[in-house]
């Protein structure tokens, strides 16, 4: 068995290095395929980042009645934080709200002046709530409205934000589903192209296969070297693809960072380098081996 394995590996190695042209083409197509598969992973990371950014921006404010004390505010906050749907709650006191308003409109003297004319702080204290998922705001509000807190809640700005939140939720779902479908379609196309290239390479070797059969080579002796060839091509393609993408991500990182508002593709790549390389190696070898196995089958039937 050991001698058989040693010979099969040697034959596969020789075939790979000596056959030249078509093997180079196979490796090239595998590099493209593996890079595409990896890029799909990277895109998923970027999309997740963008979606997280959008989600960060969505929150609702619950305004409480003017007589509500700070202690009561803290109690409400604690209650909200306990809810599994709630990611974060922050208290904005009347004073904070006034300060924020002044800051926001510091270039509008008319507005600031009108505040001075009013004489008192017209703002309500509020609780800013951020849910884990934008779709959960309705559920959070339902809990708020149905509880004893209803009396001290003056107003919730959910109704005004509802349309935007729903639209964003829809957009996020669409991006997720669309991205998954596109990734699947691209993945299938890439795999088919790689399979076809290996099929052509084996078709090119069909005369050699018939010679091997005439010499009396058992099927495993014919199949084995092609599998080894597929593995070598897959492994080389995975290695090349890894370094190409590492370089590309290094040079494109600043641009992608700017486009996605903070997604550093190089850091993302580095943090997952081991796992990504494993996926690339596994997909490269699997593509090479499975394509070879399927393609060679018809030459070994009789």
């Amino acid at each position: 068995m050991f001698t058989f394995l040693r010979r099969v590996i040697r034959f596969g190695w020789h075939n790979f290095w000596r056959a030249g042209g078509l093997n180079v083409a196979t490796v090239f197509v595998l590099i493209v395929t593996i890079s595409l598969i990896t890029t799909l992973f990277i895109s998923e990371g970027a999309v997740k980042h963008i979606i997280a950014q959008i989600k960060e921006k969505i929150d609702i404010s619950v305004y409480v009645a003017p007589e509500t004390s700070n202690e009561e505010m803290e109690i409400i906050k604690d209650r909200l934080v306990e809810m599994p749907e709630v990611q974060a709650v922050s208290i904005v006191s009347k004073e904070d709200a006034l300060e924020q308003f002044r800051e926001r409109h510091k270039n509008d003297p008319v507005l600031l002046e009108s505040l001075d004319i009013v004489g008192t702080n017209p703002f309500y204290a509020s609780l800013n709530i951020r849910a884990n998922d934008p779709e959960q705001y309705a559920a959070i509000l339902e809990v708020l409205n149905s509880s004893s807190l209803d009396d001290i809640i003056y107003k919730v700005d959910y109704v005004e934000k509802k349309t935007v939140i729903e639209k964003l939720s829809g957009f996020i779902t669409n991006v997720n589903t669309g991205g998954l479908l596109m990734a699947l379609a691209l993945g299938v196309v890439a795999v088919l192209v790689a399979f076809n290239t290996i099929r052509v390479a084996i078709y090119d070797a069909s005369k050699e296969i018939s010679i091997m059969r005439l010499v009396g080579a058992p099927n495993r002796f014919i199949r084995g070297p092609f599998i080894v060839q597929g593995m070598i091509a897959g492994a080389i393609a995975a290695l090349a693809s890894f370094f190409i993408l590492l370089l590309v991500s290094y040079f494109l990182a600043p641009k992608i960072d700017a486009m996605t508002n903070g997604f550093n593709v190089f850091s993302w790549f580095k943090a997952r380098a081991f796992g990504l390389f494993f996926v690339q190696l596994a997909s490269g070898i699997a593509l090479g081996v499975i394509s070879s196995l399927i393609a060679i089958r018809k030459y070994l039937t009789a």
């Binding site: 005439l214 080579a217 009789a302």
Partner: protein, 228 residues
């Protein structure tokens, strides 16, 4: 040893390659048999049937007491290891050196590295290619390629060597060279089946000749000549 019993082979739609052919080879030990005929007479079909590259439409081929049609696909490689083949187009593996081409036949039948290193140089010496061991087929002349193919055929110590037009692409000098080698193989105890349409070779051999014409045997003589 080899019996062809009422072999017929038809190709669709209506080509008859062999018509009810019967003969035997090696009944009294090893034999040197030439099969002659014009192109399309059925020589190559006969050889393809013997190697079980194809199946006859009717009839049986018995080799070593067994109907070869009954050999299971998985055992076909073992059957073919008993037969050495030499073809007009050499059929060498282009990505292997001369040494590796010859060694390949031994490797697939499970010979040890020691046996390979011992036998292959000897075989290359027999065919006069010891200084070409590391060359690839692309860099060899036609005669050298054919001698490599003969060395490979010999590597499995076959009971039978089939040579289908082995000199078809060679000049007269190399032709003589190859025929001498085949005679040497016969002298060493193997049966040689030579398919050719080279009149000069047949007439110089003075051995058994089976003549085919339009898929039928028209002559089978012990010391035959090329008559068509």
């Amino acid at each position: 040893m080899i019996f062809f019993e009422n072999i017929s082979k038809m190709y669709k739609p209506d080509t008859v390659a062999l018509k009810n052919v019967s003969f035997q080879i090696g009944a009294n030990g090893n034999e040197f048999v030439s099969i002659v005929g014009k192109s399309g007479a059925g020589k190559t079909t006969l050889i393809r049937l013997l190697l079980r590259e194809e199946e006859p439409t009717s009839g049986k081929i018995i080799y070593g007491g067994k109907n070869i049609a009954e050999i299971k696909n998985k055992d076909l490689s073992i059957f073919r290891q008993k037969i050495g083949c030499v073809f007009q187009d050499y059929r060498l593996l282009p990505n292997k050196t001369v040494f590796e081409n010859v060694a390949y036949a031994m490797e697939v039948m499970g010979a040890t590295d020691y046996e390979i290193l011992r036998d292959v140089p000897r075989l290359l010496e027999i065919v006069g290619l010891e200084d070409r061991a590391k060359h690839f087929p692309l860099g060899l002349s036609g005669g050298e390629k054919q001698r490599t193919a003969i060395a490979r055929a010999l590597a499995v110590r076959p009971e039978v060597i089939i040579a289908d037009e082995p000199t078809g692409n060679l000049d007269p000098y190399h032709t003589r060279d190859i025929i001498n080698l085949l005679e040497k193989i016969y002298d060493l105890g193997a049966t040689v089946i030579l398919a050719t349409h080279d009149k000069a070779i047949i007439n110089s051999l003075s051995r058994r000749v089976i003549t085919l014409d339009n898929g039928e045997i028209i002559r089978d003589e012990e010391k035959g000549r090329f008559i068509l």
